[in-house]
Symmetry: C2
């Protein structure tokens, strides 16, 4: 069922853009309440962040809150383990798009990737890409759990399967984004895909290092803080 | 859509039963490969464990491996965050049952529980119970993230919604099962529901303490180890 996908252009982040144009303000904690989602969305508007990233149960609410704004609504699929069936991932993606998500961050089938089952990994991603229609799909590799070969293979398969971005981390594993991993992902995907860094990004300096290493997007729960700090004149 | 559910009897664990009759041998790591699932299922047969518990992507394989045996196949829904839509949880449950799961462990909508939205919590559970048909549903409360009132409320709603068990933990939060939490859950559900303890259970003594406190099932990745240790004569 792999089809050749037309890959639309995405905006690469460049140093000419402000930091907040890269920030996906993120709240994926299991215990996030509707009131916390409201605040997340309000902050994204206030600080002109690129987007918000929320769990599927909050997409409908966030879509209403962000209607008519420039804020991109990102949701997740198969999150955070990626060990759901292909059909369930596709269903969850379809639903999120229908409820208003603009972009989908899916977790790769890590067990299949570890087992070297390229076919299973590719079909899993392709089913979500298909369900997403024209909405960009990011593939979360969970780099903290992979060796270099697995990271490279994950990137290659994500590209083959029509995903638009690779992304480092869920924020729920033992480690998050690193400068080394972002540089590696960028090296593998070249200019053909976007790279999203996420997991443990809590200050401006680290965010800037990740952007310098090749990230286009920064997923962080500290989006408001980063935007505020970035706006201060350097001393 | 709440319906009055006929609740089938389940076997309460009693000290007359061997320890392994309570053990759900569990492998829910994101990186679990098919070969690791094969070993899990083989161990469950070898040690006559009650069941295995696997992620949805592995249900079909485990069902084939366990066909014709007494081992119960448990899978998970909305795991481990519980922040999926009601429709996605129901779909995932339906699929798991169709592929051979005998029991379903679902994660409660923690955000709704935190917000005190009883209606959302109940409908979420009820939709999975309905999708499970006659297969027992356990509701994972993720006790490490709840205060006492939330734990009690979660139990009460799980019962109202037709679930057959409450369960302490996913194993992915900051803490797992405790003797105190198992005793609390047992106190709230009385003899009307089962209690499953899970998360961080790695030795026989702790497992026995949890059973003594009121657990009927022990979810552990150390099932083979526990069964071996339990079989040794006490010194």
């Amino acid at each position: 069922m792999l089809r050749s996908m037309e890959r639309k252009a995405f905006v690469r982040w460049t140093p000419a853009l402000p930091l907040q144009a890269a920030i996906e303000h993120t709240l994926l904690a299991a215990t996030a309440t509707p009131a916390m989602i409201d605040r997340l969305c309000a902050e994204a508007r206030t600080y002109a962040l690129f987007g918000v990233c929320v769990n599927p149960v909050h997409v409908l609410r966030a879509a209403k809150l962000l209607a008519g704004t420039e804020v991109t609504l990102v949701s997740v699929v198969g999150f955070p383990l990626g060990a759901n069936t292909r059909a369930a991932k596709a269903f969850e993606c379809e639903l999120a798009v229908r409820e208003g998500a603009h972009e989908i961050d899916m977790v790769v089938d890590l067990g299949a990737l570890k087992a070297g089952d390229r076919y299973a990994v590719r079909e899993d991603i392709a089913s979500v890409v298909k369900a997403a229609g024209d909405r960009p799909v990011k593939v979360i590799l969970e780099t903290a759990l992979l060796n270099e070969g697995e990271k490279r293979l994950g990137c290659a398969i994500a590209e083959q399967a029509g995903a638009r971005f690779v992304k480092t981390s869920t924020g729920f594993a033992s480690g998050g984004a690193t400068v080394q991993d972002v540089a590696l992902l960028r090296e593998v995907v070249g200019d053909r895909m976007g790279v999203k860094a996420s997991g443990g990004i809590r200050d401006v300096d680290f965010a800037r290092q990740l952007l310098a290493a090749g990230a286009d997007r920064i997923g962080t729960s500290a989006g408001a803080l980063l935007a505020t700090a970035a706006a201060k004149p350097a001393r």
